[in-house]
Amino acid sequence: MRGATRVKWAVGVMAVALTAAACGGGSDNGGGGGSGSSSGGIVRASWGDPQNPLEPANTNEVQGGKVLDMIFRGLKKYDPKTAKAENMIADSITSTDSQNFDIKLKSGWTFSNGEPVNADSFINAWNYDALLKNAQLNASFFNYIDGYEQVHPDNPGAKSTATTLSGLQKVSDLEFKVRLNQKFSLWPDTLGYSAFYPLPKAFFDNHAAWLRKPIGNGPYTISSYTKGSLMSLRKWDGYKGPDPAQNNGVDLRVYTDNNTAYTDLQAGNIDLVDDIPAAQLTNVKSDLGSRYINEPAGIIQTIAFPLYNARWSSANSAKVRQGLSMAINRKQITDQIFQQTRTPASDWTSPVLGTAGGFKEGLCGDECTYNPAKAKQMIQQGGGLPGGSITIGYNADTGSHKEWVDAVCNSINNALGNNKACVGAPTGTFADFRNKITNKQLNNPFRSGWQMDYPLIQDFLQPLYFTNASSNDSHYSNANFDKLVNEANAETNSSNAVGKFQDAERQLVTDMPAIPLWYQNGSAGYSSNLSNVLLNPFSVPVYNEIKVK
């Protein structure tokens, strides 16, 4: 009894101390006035440690991307609900030939340190991002701009022959022109991606200081950043954009484990968790009720085939691949293993694109529908499994892939009536797994995931299946597919372009270079302190729209 009182007393003291500390931290932003609310209008959210330094073109994972999307605004922004690219800083982006673009900027935008956002902010940033010497992970996103090969030669060890992209040309402070090296009608719609964000002079003047505390032009500024544990973002009152923050700020706390984050949500220590641990999926609806969000994100999981390998390059091999696709009971696996946090796939894109954007449910048709009898027949027609059995490769370190790979194999084995036809083949680490894929060392199918960079049908097809494309892990090559993609890119009307892309996608049904498995959902849970929480197409919470009670 006495011990309990003492603990309570200690907790009370700590609570007072913490509130005092929180007030002290927030006072310089003038946002500490939320009477009755313990958090003062601040959203306390879970976060993961970003893998790379926070630079727009060097961030290719979700955790770093979250922050960039809070502190930056680009030429375009993707609508959180419809995924449509809408002008943000861009006043207009026009082209008559799908290759030369004229970009006009809105006036009045500034960075939070007072610098204006002008044509130079974009040109300097893009030149920096593309330059080989700066080794930016997203440099290849600039490869459509003319002059990229000189700034960023493709061969390892080669030296840049230019330091600026010749395709970028400043017209005035609020206008610049971009020349691409090929026709690409949907190119303006890619400009909402974080790699294309503008950078202030401060970035180039003192790079190290900028990395410690990035300065952007978005609705939030970083008030403090302790790497590896906490980032405090506060509403920027000087933000003139159309989407100012609805809350006073966001505290992103790094969690070692999403289970702990979930426990903290239950204990009332944080307000928002955007990754519900798999172990909690069975309880989450009773724990959170309507405060649990589970909706499709722009992520598709597939099983890719090493088409460069003799086992998969024979003329009849496509039949075997189609047969394997029909042997997988997607509905059962998504229900039982993923607790409906995946949606069975019936095309190679994602529902977040919407029908106007190119998602077409059932495009794959019978070839992606579970039909064990037909599956067996198709595989036999194709000459049977190469060597009599296959393995499905996956990495064992993250993502708990073993469960579903075993289930997929089980489904295939049942269809073939042979319990040795398919087994999982784990690789220890993701690094090693990616290494084997890049070095073409695989001779059996392997798991493959694709998270879109921008919500465009082009992004689900061209990087993955175009001949020699950057992420074409299957090394698939089909002249008709390439031709249709090129035609789609040359279209000036976007609905015609989408139609052409879908024609190209139909070629994938015939060739089946990768079996679509399911679309991944984003999941999140939040406390009763918050309202208006939604996930954008990238399954990231739209922080600036969140209201704190």
Binding site: A4, V7, K8, A10, V11, M14, D49, P50, Q51, N52, P53, N60, L132, K133, A135, L137, A139, S140, H152, D154, N155, P156, G157, A158, L211, T226, K227, G228, S229, V254, Y255, T256, D257, N259, T260, A261, T263, D264, Q266, A267, N269, D397, T398, G428, T429, A431, D432, F433, R434, N435, I437, T438, S448, W450, Q451, P463, S470, S471, N472, D473
Partner: protein, 307 residues
């Protein structure tokens, strides 16, 4: 004594080199870290080559190791992929883990030895049987189970403590995680002390002390306990290193950004500088703790001499 210490210190050099090299080889064998940096995207060959060059990964393994060791001796432990120097990671991680380890060791020493003495003195009594059963339960339940259960009970249901530890990780927040981390070792300490005490209660010098009419308290603390502590001190000494390195589970459960967490991240991201740097320090901690334990023997038992 001085010569003994010097000899022991010299022995540390090959152990140090051997262990760091082994860790280096193991991390290297995990695959190419640069390939994983790009996520689902295939690495763009020129950028990948540039990053490899910047990180000295374009050299052979022995050359990388020599380069790394050279840097270590100038105090440069390299950089993690997030752009933070490994020394700054250590600067934030080690104090936290050391605090956690201190809490755990205190639990082990205070609770473990007291329980051990009580049960050792009362062999076969209900107290003894009860504690033995309890320690058996503690040993057989994995740390992550006790961790999550206690966290849920005290953090979520009773709200006595915060369910996760704040980034600064002050001592008062580390009590529950420290207990969780200590539990298994605590049970071993109890059992070791109990056996040792039970054995020594029959020793001649204890009988002599009792016969001299010394107060019971003095017999137990000065004579019985002091002689019985040698195996316990050995265990606790080696446990310091084990607790620091083995805190991965506890640190994950309670969101403590210490050594275990950094090591886990380093391995997951295949980052040789982080892993080798942290393990190097842990190896040193192990070696020094072992040396201290050996030197403590003489304090406990004056018959032990070092040559």
């Amino acid at each position: 004594m001085g010569r003994y210490v010097i000899r022991r210190l010299l022995q540390m050099i090959p152990v140090f080199i051997g262990s760091t090299f082994l860790i280096f080889v193991m991390v290297y064998a995990l695959g190419d870290p640069v390939a994983a940096l790009f996520g689902d995207h295939a690495p763009d060959p020129a950028t990948a080559a540039q990053i490899r060059h910047d990180l000295y990964l374009d050299h052979s393994l022995p050359a990388q190791y020599i380069h790394y060791m050279k840097n270590i001796f100038t105090g440069n432990f390299g950089e993690a992929f997030s752009g933070q120097s490994v020394t700054s990671l250590m600067g934030s991680a080690f104090p936290v883990t050391i605090r956690l380890t201190i809490v755990a060791i205190l639990f082990e020493i205070i609770i473990g030895i007291i329980l051990g003495v009580i049960t050792g003195m009362k062999r076969g009594k209900p107290v003894d049987t009860g504690v033995l059963l309890l320690t058996l339960v503690v040993i057989s339940v994995p740390t992550f189970v006790t961790g999550y259960v206690l966290q849920y009970l005290f953090g979520v249901q009773l709200k006595w403590v915060a369910s996760s530890v704040s980034p600064s990780a002050p001592f008062n927040e580390l009590i529950l995680p420290g207990l969780v981390l200590a539990l298994v070792s605590l049970a071993y300490v109890t059992r070791l002390t109990r056996t040792s005490i039970a054995e020594n209660t029959r020793a001649d010098y204890v009988r002599t002390a009792v016969a001299k009419g010394l107060p019971r308290r003095q017999v137990i603390v000065r004579h019985l306990l002091r002689n019985s502590l040698i195996p316990v001190v050995t265990f606790i000494g080696t446990d310091i290193g084990a607790l620091m390195g083995g805190a991965i589970v506890t640190e994950r459960i309670f969101n403590i950004h210490g050594v275990g967490y950094q090591l886990y991240q380093g391995i997951l991201r295949n980052n040789a500088p982080t892993v080798v740097g942290f393990v190097t320090i842990l190896v040193l901690v192990f070696l020094v703790a072992n040396l201290l334990v050996d030197l403590l023997y003489a304090v406990l038992d004056p018959r032990i001499r070092y040559a």
